[in-house]
C-alpha cells in the first residue's frame, strides 16, 4: 500500500522534474551533458583516417565531459554495418558515430536503403580530397598527359584505390566522365582499401591510384609515388606544389570525402546542440590543430545546419556520378 503510494508519488515528482528539465532544455538548449559512458561507433577499421580522427575527438570529448567515450570499430559491408548501427541506436546521446561520405553513396549502389535522412548530423570534422597518383617511373608527368593517353587508348590503363563503387572509384570514374571520356577508359581494379592499392602501384601492378590525398602523402614526400593532381578547389598546405583538378581540368571536377560526428536518427535538439558546441570548441583548440597538422590536413568545421545542407548537395552530386558511370542499382 505505502509502496504503491510512494511509487505514484515518485512518478509524479519525476514527471514534474522532467517537465522542468525539458522547459529548461528549451530555454537554454545546449546544456545537456552525458552522465555515463558514451559509445562512439566507427564504421571503418582501426588505423585508418576515420578511425584516427574519431579516436582523437573521442578522447577530447572524454576530457571535456569526464565520462568515457568508447570507440567501437563496427566494420564490414563497405560501411553499411557501422552506419546502420549508428542510425538504429537510441537517440539519447549515448551513441554517436563517425558517419562518412559513404552515407551518400551506399544507397545509390543498392547496398542499403539508409540515407543521410536516417542520421542526425552534428558536425563535419574532416574533408579528404582524392588524389591522382602514379609511380615514380611512370611516363606521365601531368594529369593532361594521363587523360590524353586514356582518351586515345581506352581500357589500356588501370587504376585502383578502393572497392568497386567505393568513393575513390567514383573519384576516378567521375573525373573521366566529367571530361567526356568513357568512365571505364581507365579500368578500375578493386582493392581492400588504399594501402593495398598503393602497394600495387609501387609494384607496377596498376598504373594510377586515386586514394585520399592524406593517405598517399607520405609516399609522395618520399619520392616513391608522384602526385599529378588532387581533386579540390582550394590549395591545401600539405602539398603546395601539386596542381588542383579545379584549375587543370576544363570540367573543374573535384571530389572530396568527408568525416562527421553524427547521432542516430531523431536525436533531440538539445543533445545535438550540446555535441555541436563541444565539437566546435574542440576543433578550435590548439591540441586539435596540432593533431590535424601532424596528418597534413587542414582544420575544418561545419555545424549541424551547414552539414545537413552539405550532405544534401553531396548526395545529389554523387548520385549523378554513380548513375553516369552505370553503377546505380
Amino acid at each position: 500500500m505505502t509502496k504503491a503510494i510512494s511509487k505514484a508519488l515518485l512518478r509524479g515528482v519525476a514527471a514534474v522534474a522532467l517537465a522542468t528539465a525539458s522547459t529548461a532544455a528549451y530555454a537554454q538548449s545546449c546544456d545537456w551533458t552525458p552522465d555515463r559512458a558514451v559509445t562512439y561507433i566507427v564504421p571503418w577499421g582501426a588505423g585508418g583516417g576515420t578511425d584516427a580522427n574519431s579516436r582523437m575527438l573521442a578522447t577530447m570529448l572524454e576530457q571535456k565531459w569526464g565520462v568515457p567515450f568508447n570507440v567501437v570499430n563496427r566494420t564490414g559491408g563497405n560501411g553499411v554495418t557501422g552506419h546502420s548501427a549508428i542510425s538504429n541506436a537510441a537517440p539519447d546521446g549515448y551513441t554517436v558515430g563517425a558517419v562518412t561520405v559513404e552515407i551518400n553513396t551506399m544507397h545509390w549502389v543498392g547496398l542499403t536503403d539508409m540515407t543521410h535522412e536516417n542520421i542526425s548530423p552534428i558536425a563535419l570534422i574532416d574533408i579528404v580530397p582524392a588524389s591522382v597518383l602514379v609511380g615514380n617511373d611512370s611516363p606521365f608527368q601531368s594529369l593532361e598527359e594521363l587523360m590524353d593517353h586514356a582518351r586515345e587508348n581506352p581500357g589500356d590503363l588501370t587504376g585502383s584505390g578502393t572497392s568497386l563503387g567505393g568513393i575513390w572509384h567514383l573519384a576516378l570514374a567521375g573525373m573521366l566522365n566529367a571530361e567526356g571520356l568513357d568512365p571505364e577508359a581507365i579500368r578500375w581494379i578493386p582493392s581492400q582499401g588504399a594501402a593495398p592499392a598503393m602497394q600495387e602501384l609501387i609494384a607496377g601492378g596498376v598504373d594510377i591510384a586515386t586514394p585520399a590525398l592524406s593517405e598517399g602523402r607520405s609516399l609522395v614526400d618520399a619520392g616513391e609515388l608522384r602526385a599529378l593532381a588532387y581533386m579540390h578547389d582550394s590549395p591545401m598546405d600539405a602539398l603546395p606544389d601539386v596542381p588542383l583538378t579545379a584549375e587543370v581540368l576544363d570540367s573543374g571536377w573535384t571530389l572530396a570525402a568527408y568525416i562527421t560526428i553524427s547521432g542516430p536518427e531523431g536525436m533531440p535538439d538539445d543533445i545535438a546542440c550540446a555535441y555541436e558546441q563541444a565539437v566546435m570548441e574542440i576543433t578550435e583548440s590548439a591540441e586539435w590543430a596540432e593533431f590535424k597538422a601532424s596528418r597534413g590536413a587542414d582544420v575544418v568545421f561545419m555545424g549541424r545546419e551547414a552539414l545537413a545542407e552539405y550532405m544534401v548537395t553531396q548526395d545529389a552530386a554523387l548520385g549523378e556520378t554513380i548513375q553516369a558511370i552505370g553503377l546505380a542499382d
Partner: protein, 500 residues
Amino acid sequence: MDILATLAIVLTPKILGTIFVCTLYGAFVGAMPGLTATMAVALLVPFTWFMDPVQAAAAIVATTTTAIFAGDISGAILKIPGTPASAAYVEDSYRLSQSGKPRTTLFTALFASVCGGVIGVAILAYATPALANLSRSFSSDEAFWLATLGLSCAVLVGGPSVPRNFASLFIGLAIATIGIDVAVGHPRFTFGNIELYDGVSFIPAMIGMFALSELLRNAAVGHQTPLVKLTVEPLLQAITAAGRSFLQHWKNILRSASGGTVIGALPGAGADVAAWIAYAVSRRFSKSPEAFGRGHIEGIVDGGAANNAAVAGAWTPALVFGIPGDSVTAIAIGVLMMKGLTPGPDIFNTDAVLVYTIFGSFLIANIMMLVTGGLAVALATQVLRVPRAVLMPLILLLAMIGGFAITGSTLAIWIILALGLLASVMIWSQIPLAPAILGIVLGRIVEDNFMVSMMKARGDLTEFFARDTAAVLGALTLMIWAVLIYRALRSFFQTQTPSK
C-alpha cells in the same frame, strides 16, 4: 647508429617501465580466448597520446610481441588458439599439455618465440632495405601465389589422410566465400543479413571450431573419461626441460625465424602464413614427421619462432613505405604520424633515432617477455588444476563474450554455435580442423588477389607467371601440388589393391 647508442636511449627507466607494463598487458590480452593482438593495440592508442614518440612505439611493439606469443597459452591449455598464428600447431601443444607437460610445452614455445623475435629484429635492423626491395616487387600476382603456397601447406601438414585434409581445407574455403565479394562488391550467402557482409570473422570461428567441438566431444563420451585433474609439472623442472628441447632445436629456430621475418615483411602475408609454412617445412625436414599433429614439440618450436619473427618483419613495409603489413602496423603508423613522424624511405635519415629505438624496443620487449611471458605461463597453467568439466563451459562462456566483444553483435555467438556443430561432425568423420581454419583466414586473400590479377590481365592466366617473383613462387606452388596429387593417387591405389 650502433647498437650501444640505441640501447642507451631504450634503457631509460621510463621506456623500460613502459615495455614491462605493456608486455604484461599484451600477455593478458593475448591469452584471453577471443581477444586479439589488434584489439590490444587499438585499446592502447589513447594512452599513446600522452607519450613521446619513442615511448609510444615501444608500447606498441611490446604489446604485439607478447600478445602473439600469449596466443599459444590458450591454445595449449584450452585448445583455443589466441590468434590464427597459433592455430598451425595447436593440436600438438594441446596434446602435449594434456599429457601432463603444459609448462614444458609453453616454456619451450616461449623460448622459441623470444629467440624468433630477437632474430627477427636482428634481420630487420640489418636487412630492412633489402626486405623493402623484395616487398616493393609484390603485386597481386605474387600475393596470390604466396597465399596459395600457405594453403598448400595446410594440406601438407593437416593429418595423415590427404583427401581428408583437402576436405577440411575446402570446408574452410567455402566458409570464406560468405560476405561481400571484393571484385564486384556483391554479397554472397549472406541471406540479407548485413552483419554477414564482412564474412565470418575468424575469432568466433576458432572459438566454435576448437572450443565448442571439444566440449561437445567430451559430453558425447560421457562419464567414461574420469574427470581427473591434470598434472602440472613443477616450474623449475619445466623450465629445464624446455631449455633442453630449445637447445636441441636451435637449427629449426634459426631456419624458421629467418623465414618468418621474410614472410612477415611481404605484403598480404603475415604471422599466420609464416607459422603455417614454418610448420610444414619443419615436418618435411623432420626425422619424425609422423609425430607431427600428435603432440610433437618440433612443430611448436618452428611455428612459435616464425610467427614472432614475422611480427618484426611486418614493420618493414610499414616503416619504409608507410604501407601497413597488417592491422597492428596500420594502427602504429597512425600513432607515429600523430607524433609528426612520416614513415617512408627517408625515415632512416630523418628519424634514424626513432627507427633504431623501435628495433631496440623490440629487442628489449622480447627479452622482457621471458619474464612476463613466463609469469603468464606459470599462472595460466594453474587453470589446468580445475576439472575440465567445470573449466570448459566457463571458458566457453567467456570466449563467447569475447567473440561478441570483437564483432559487437550477437552474430558472433551464432557463428560459434554453428561452426562448433560443424567441427563436431568433422571430428566424428576424422577430418582435421586446422586446415579449415587456414581456409577461412586465407580464402579471402587468395580470392581477392586472384580476381584482381585476372581483372588486370583481362582473363589471361599466363600473366600469373609474367613477373619474375611471381613465376618463381608459382612454379614452387605447382611443384608442391604435383607432389600432393602424386601422394594422393599412390595412397588411393594402395588402398584399392588389397581389397581386390
